[in-house]
């Protein structure tokens, strides 16, 4: 006999639900006899009828306690194998929750399961009454003349009960799932904690990857385009110096090309330097910053505490902060005549402060430079603060946690 797929699925689901519920009866109700035993002993203790009772009372209580983790394991297996739900391995953690489930909620669920299974068995028995009634001894049937009519009603009732078993079983499975996951499952804060760990790790990976990429681009440009440009400018310079007998027009062209080649070198150098200077890897932040300060178009006072080397990503961000900040000062700070860069390390915090004596009024919400800066600071869990009242002075303060 072949069933249409829908009915087959429904039947499979029913079988799964019933198996799951049936498997729950024993582990859920296992504690009940222990309770009863303890109750009897407790009664005896209070009544004073048995002098050994107070001592023996310890046995069921100890068993109750010991049963918790074991029963939880059984429930984990039951949920995984019969319902496809993964519960975390609790072991000896969260004993209160484990006891709550196995000792308090479990018996109730067990009772419901038992009731449902009873309903199923009774329903089956009633629905098939006309099939087995002939097996009942004839003396009983003689004594109950209306039994055929009763049997017909009973069949109807049984069918109704069986029909009710399907949604009830599904409902009970859902209820068990809810309760099981709520009590034995991962709590929301656990889940968030794990998620934060995942995100932190993947973000650190992304930051490192971006750093490596910057380094690679810097290296490629240094070995390729920069050397070619210098070579080009050198050849033009040689032409300018040696070809003195050219017509003036040709000389002009060579001179213009020479100038432009030198400008191109300047521009490319500036760009590449902003990516990730090689000296940052070799000598660290302290050494890399003097190049930045010296190239700024206004006088910069640089004060760097003697620093130990820290994570490459943190040094990279600190360098970028100073680079961007000084570019910003040069571009936007009106009437700034000088800037000061201070780098200090206090415990696990690297603090970078850039101040200028311009007219202030800088707004971090505007301008992509400042926004990008704040983003890169956040990428290593740093904080970015800026104070720039109209009239000045402007002060930018960045704190970066540095491990080690």
């Amino acid at each position: 006999m072949t069933l249409p797929p829908r009915s087959r699925r429904a039947l499979l689901r029913l079988r799964r639900d019933l198996l799951f519920l049936a498997a729950g009866v024993l582990p859920h109700l296992l504690v009940v006899p222990l309770y009863l035993w303890a109750a009897v002993l407790f009664g005896a203790t209070v009544a004073g009828s048995d002098s050994d009772a107070p001592v023996i009372l310890a046995a069921p209580l100890a068993l109750l306690c010991a049963a918790g983790p074991g029963l939880t394991e059984v429930q984990r297996w039951r949920f995984r194998a019969l319902c496809g739900v993964e519960l975390p391995r609790l072991g000896l953690r969260r004993l209160r929750r484990q006891f709550g489930y196995n000792g308090l909620i479990g018996p109730l669920l067990g009772a419901l399961e038992l009731l449902l299974l009873t309903l199923l068995v009774a329903g089956l028995a009633a629905a098939t009454v006309l099939l087995w009634i002939w097996a009942v001894p004839w003396q009983w049937r003689i004594g109950h003349p209306g039994y055929t009519t009763q049997a017909a009603y009973l069949t109807g009732l049984g069918l109704l009960a069986l029909a009710a078993v399907v949604p009830l079983a599904a409902g009970l499975v859902r209820l068990e799932n809810l309760v099981g996951r709520a009590v034995l499952g991962v709590s929301r804060s656990d889940e968030l904690e794990r998620r934060v760990e995942d995100l932190t790790a993947s973000r650190a990976g992304a930051v490192d990857a971006a750093d490596a990429e910057r380094r690679r681009i810097e290296r490629d440009l240094h070995d390729g385009a920069q050397q070619r440009l210098v070579s080009l400018a050198l050849n033009l310079g040689l032409a300018k110096a040696t070809l003195t007998d050219l017509p003036p027009k040709a000389r002009e062209v060579i001179e213009a090309a020479h100038r432009e080649a030198k400008d191109a070198i300047e521009e490319l150098n500036h760009l590449v330097r902003g990516l990730h200077p090689a000296v940052l890897d070799e000598l660290g932040l302290d050494a890399a910053l003097s190049g930045l300060a010296a190239r700024a178009p206004l006088p910069v006072r640089l004060r760097v505490d003697p620093l130990e080397r820290t994570a490459a990503a943190v040094e990279g961000v600190a360098y970028f902060v100073v680079s961007e900040a000084l570019t910003n000062v040069a571009k936007h700070a009106r009437e700034a005549t000088r800037a000061e860069v201070t780098v200090t390390r206090i415990g696990g915090i690297l603090r970078v402060v850039i101040a200028d004596d311009g007219m202030g009024g800088a707004d971090p919400a505007r301008g992509s430079g400042l926004k990008g800066l704040a983003q890169r600071v956040r990428s290593v869990d740093g904080t970015f603060r800026m104070s720039s009242p109209v009239g000045g002075p402007t002060m930018m303060s960045v704190e970066l946690p540095c491990p080690g």
């Binding site: 050397q227 210098v230 110096a241 030198k262 090689a278 070799e282 000598l283 190049g291 010296a294 004060r303």
Partner: protein, 241 residues
Amino acid sequence: MPGVNAPTALATGPGVSEGASGVRRAVIAEDSVLLRIGLVKVVEMAGFTVAAEAGDAAGLLAAVAEHRPELAVVDVRMPPGFTDEGVRAALSIRREWPDTAVLLLSQYVEERYAADLLAAHTGGVGYLLKQRVADVEEFVEALRRVAGGGTALDPQVVSQLLVRRASDPLERLTAREREVLALMAEGRSNAAVAAQLVVSESAVAKHINSIFTKLDLPKADADHRRVLAVLRFLGVAAPGR
């Protein structure tokens, strides 16, 4: 070479001997082949014979040991590490073969390397941005100056070293005197300083004397005072003598 005008009266500094007798040899270390070809031309233009070319620090040291050249032109970033191989090679060349002057070239100059270099040697060293080779005449002059025992520091090196200096007696100098001192630090002669600032050479000499007085420098020989003034200016400790 036709049309090459030797820079006029620019070469000075300690022990410069313009047009010394005999062939002057140079060794070049640069890993970019393209640039090496250009460098050879410029070095030859400055009157040197290129004895050897190297692509890394090991090759450079071997070439210097073999040829004992008057000058080595060295790229800072070379294989295998592509970091500061050139600087370390320069320091060991100056230590082991003091007769070989070293001019370092780099895409970027770093005050830390300059300080290392100057702390060990005050003459026969140079540290310039690579792009300076494009200004052929000035570069040729720098080559001769360094080979003659003088110095050639990139203006960017000088300004980087100045960024580092905290307040000190230099505050007593006038702006003009500081300009003069900065040019001296680059390795320029009095005449070159005068030309740059568009003043007379005697005015420069006057400024320099005033600088010596303000910095309380001992009245030893003029070259030594000059070196000391520059070192004080750059905030680099003078090498032990």
